[in-house]
Symmetry: C2
Subunit: 347 residues, 2 copies
DNA sequence: GGCGTTTACGCAAACGTTTGCGCTAGACTG
DNA sequence: CAGTCTAGCGCAAACGTTTGCGTAAACGCC
C-alpha cells in the first residue's frame, strides 16, 4: 500500500516516449524499432513493472482467465483435474479462478455469477447440481464446458451427448470392469453409489447395460446418503446380508469408505466380497488391500478441458463433445471369489 | 459473444437517470431515495446486469480477490485449507485465484507475478520453495500471509515467528505425540520426512526437542526423496533393519505410503512398528489400520487465514503471527509395542 | 529534388466503474 | 418572504490499458 504501483506512464516518462509506444513495445509489436523496444523493456524491468490485467481486461472486453467450478477440491479426483487444468491454462498464459460448489445450489449460483463478473474467457464446470441450461444462462455469452459425466437421459449414456461436454468413457470402463469380474468368476454383482450428482446415474446405467449385454443378472443397487460420515454403514450391513460376490462402487472414495465399513461389520475384502472402484485416486494404490479401479488420467482430463475451451474461444463456439479413454487397473480387491488369501503371512 | 454485456449506462438509459445514480443505487448508497433505488434494482435484475469487477478494480485500485498459492491441491491437506479459505473468502465477498507452485521455483514466481498483475487485495501462500523475502518482494505492496509452517531458524521453532505467518502448533503436537508414545511404552523412535519444504524441518526439530525435554534418546531421521513414487522403499528397508519401536512421519501421506512400503518388506503395522502421521487427512481414519495422527482442523486454518488477511488489509499491515491449536487423535497404528493384535479375526 | 513509400512513433478514444463536488428544488426557519 | 438547509441527483474526472488513425521523418526511385 505504501508505494504506488508503476504503470505504463511511469515507463513512458522515463523513456521519453508515449504510453502507446510502451504498450506496443512490451507486447512485442513489430512496428516498434528493436532499439526502443529493448530500451523500454530494460526500463520496465528496472522499475519492476507488472501490468494491470484489470485495465487490460477492461479494454479487451475479456480477461485471460478461466473459471473452474468443482464440487469440492478436497476430493482427490477433482484435485487432479484442477491440477491438470491449472498447468495447461498457464502454459497458455491464462490464469484460473477456482470455486467450490459444495453441491449447494446457491453457492454454485454465486460462484457462476462471480465468473461472469470477472468476465472470464470461458468456464469449465465439473459435477454441478444445476441444470446445464441454467448454468449456460447464468454465464450468458461465455462458453461453458462440462467436465466429467453430465446428466443425459438414461439409456443413451454414450450417444446424443450435449455439446460442450468432456467426460471419461464410463461405459467402456464399466465394460472392462464387468469383463474382468466375469473372468475372475464373480457372478452376483452389486452397485453402490454416493449421494448426489449426475455422474453416478451414468455409471450405474453403464453397469446395468454392460451386464445386460453379457447376459448377466441385473445388479442390486445401493444408495448411500452421506459417504463421508457413516452413510455407508447401512449399505455395508445390507451387503452383509445379500452377500454379492462383488460390489462395484461409484468411485474410489466410496469404495474405500465402504471397505472400512465392511470391516466393521466383519466382512473381509477380498475374502468375503470383491470390490472395485472408479477414478484411481492416489490412495487407491496404497490402500490395504490395494484397490482394483479404473483410471481416467484425471490430469489429462483437466488439460484437455482447457484445450477444449481455447479452441472454442477462437472458433466462437464449442466444438463437439468428447469421451476420454479409460483403463482398468487390477489390484488386490478382486482376486476372484474365495481366492482372498490376500498377502497371507504378512497381515 | 453474441449479445453485448449489459452495463451501467444501459440501466441508466432505461431508468432515465445518470450512471452515477445507478452505481450508487446498486451499492446501497443512502443518498439515493428508496424509490429510485428499488426501481433501479428492478431494472438491473430485469436486464440481468452483472457488474464488471475489472472496471471496478481499476478505479478501486484493488480487486476484491485473494491470491492463494499452494504446492499442490491434490494433496488432501492443502485441499482442505483451500476449501476453508474459499468458504470464508466468499462469505466476505472476496473471490480467490488459485495457483499451484508444484514445488518449482519458476512456476511459483510466475504464479506470484500473476497475483500482482491481478492486483489482488492480499495473498496467502502455503509451503513455498521461495524465500519469504523474495515472495514479499515479488508481491510488492500487497500483504502476504504464510500458511502452514514457515522456515524459521532452527531452535526457536515456536518463538520469534516472522510476522504474517499462520501455522499449526507443531511443537505442541509433537509434544502430545511423544507423550502418547511414551505412555504406550514405545522407546526407540524414528522420524521420516518427505523431500522438500520447510515444514518438515520444523516438525523434525519439534520432535527432537520434545524427546530431549523428556530425556529420551534422539530419533533416527530418515529422508525420502519422492514420496509419491517409491521414495520410501529404501526408508522402509532401513527401518526394517534398525527396528525402531515407532516411527513418526512428516505427514499422513508419508505415513500411509510408508505403511504400504513396510508391508512390502514384510513388516506389519502396528505389530512390528508403530506409526503416527500428521494432519489427519480424510483417509487417515479409514486406512487399514487406521492412522494415529494429529489433527489441525485444516479448514479452520484456511478460514483463519482470510480473517488474517482481512484485518491486515484495513489495518494496513499484518497483525502478529499465530499458532493454531492441534490435537492428537489416537487410532490403531499405536497400540503399544507388541500389542498389535489389530482387529484379530476380522482381517 | 519532387514524389511515393515505409518506418517509427504520438494522439486520443474507449472499456465500465466509482466518487468528490456541484447543482436544483423543495422544506424549513426566523 | 428572504434566507438557509437538506435531500436527491448529475457532471466529469480518474483508474491503466489497447489500438485505429494520423503524421513526421527517413528512405528509395527516376
Amino acid at each position: 500500500m505504501t508505494s504506488r504501483r508503476v504503470t505504463l506512464v511511469d515507463i513512458a516518462e522515463r523513456a521519453s516516449v508515449s504510453v502507446a509506444t510502451v504498450s506496443r513495445a512490451l507486447s512485442g509489436d513489430p512496428q516498434i524499432s528493436a532499439a526502443t523496444r529493448t530500451r523500454i523493456s530494460q526500463i520496465a524491468a528496472d522499475l519492476k513493472y507488472v501490468p494491470n490485467v484489470n485495465a487490460r481486461s477492461l479494454v479487451l472486453q475479456s480477461s485471460a482467465t478461466f473459471g473452474l467450478m468443482t464440487p469440492d477440491v478436497t476430493d482427490p479426483i477433482h484435485g487432479q483435474v484442477v491440477t491438470g487444468f491449472q498447468q495447461q491454462a498457464d502454459k497458455h498464459g491464462y490464469s484460473v479462478v477456482l470455486s467450490n460448489g459444495f453441491w449447494d445450489v446457491d453457492t454454485e449460483r454465486r460462484a457462476l455469477r462471480e465468473f461472469a463478473a470477472h468476465r472470464v474467457a470461458a468456464v469449465a464446470v465439473m459435477g454441478s447440481v444445476l441444470s446445464q441450461t441454467e448454468v449456460r444462462r447464468l454465464l450468458a455469452p461465455c462458453p461453458v464446458l462440462f467436465i466429467g459425466s453430465e446428466h443425459v437421459p438414461a439409456g443413451n449414456a454414450d450417444r446424443d451427448l450435449p455439446r460442450g461436454c468432456l467426460r471419461p468413457d464410463d461405459r467402456d470402463g464399466m465394460g472392462q470392469v464387468v469383463d474382468h469380474l466375469i473372468e475372475r468368476g464373480y457372478r452376483t454383482i452389486a452397485y453402490v453409489s454416493g449421494s448426489s450428482g449426475a455422474t453416478q446415474v451414468i455409471r450405474r446405467d453403464a453397469l446395468i447395460a454392460a451386464l445386460a449385454e453379457r447376459d448377466r443378472p441385473e445388479p442390486v443397487v445401493h444408495q448411500a446418503d452421506d459417504v463421508d460420515d457413516g452413510g455407508l454403514r447401512i449399505v455395508a450391513s445390507q451387503i452383509c446380508r445379500t452377500r454379492p460376490d462383488a460390489v462395484v462402487c461409484y468411485d474410489d472414495k466410496t469404495a474405500l469408505f465402504l471397505i472400512d465399513e465392511l470391516r466393521a461389520v466383519g466382512m473381509t475384502v477380498p475374502n468375503d466380497v470383491g470390490v472395485v472402484g472408479f477414478d484411481d485416486i492416489p490412495f487407491a494404490r496404497i490402500s490395504n488391500p490395494r484397490l482394483t479401479t479404473v483410471t481416467q488420467r484425471s490430469d489429462d482430463l483437466g488439460r484437455s478441458a482447457v484445450d477444449f475451451l481455447l479452441s472454442s474461444i477462437d472458433r466462437g463456439k464449442l466444438v463437439a463433445s468428447q469421451l476420454m479413454p479409460v483403463t482398468l487397473i487390477v489390484r488386490e480387491t478382486t482376486p476372484g471369489p474365495g481366492k482372498g488369501s490376500h498377502r497371507k503371512g504378512i497381515r
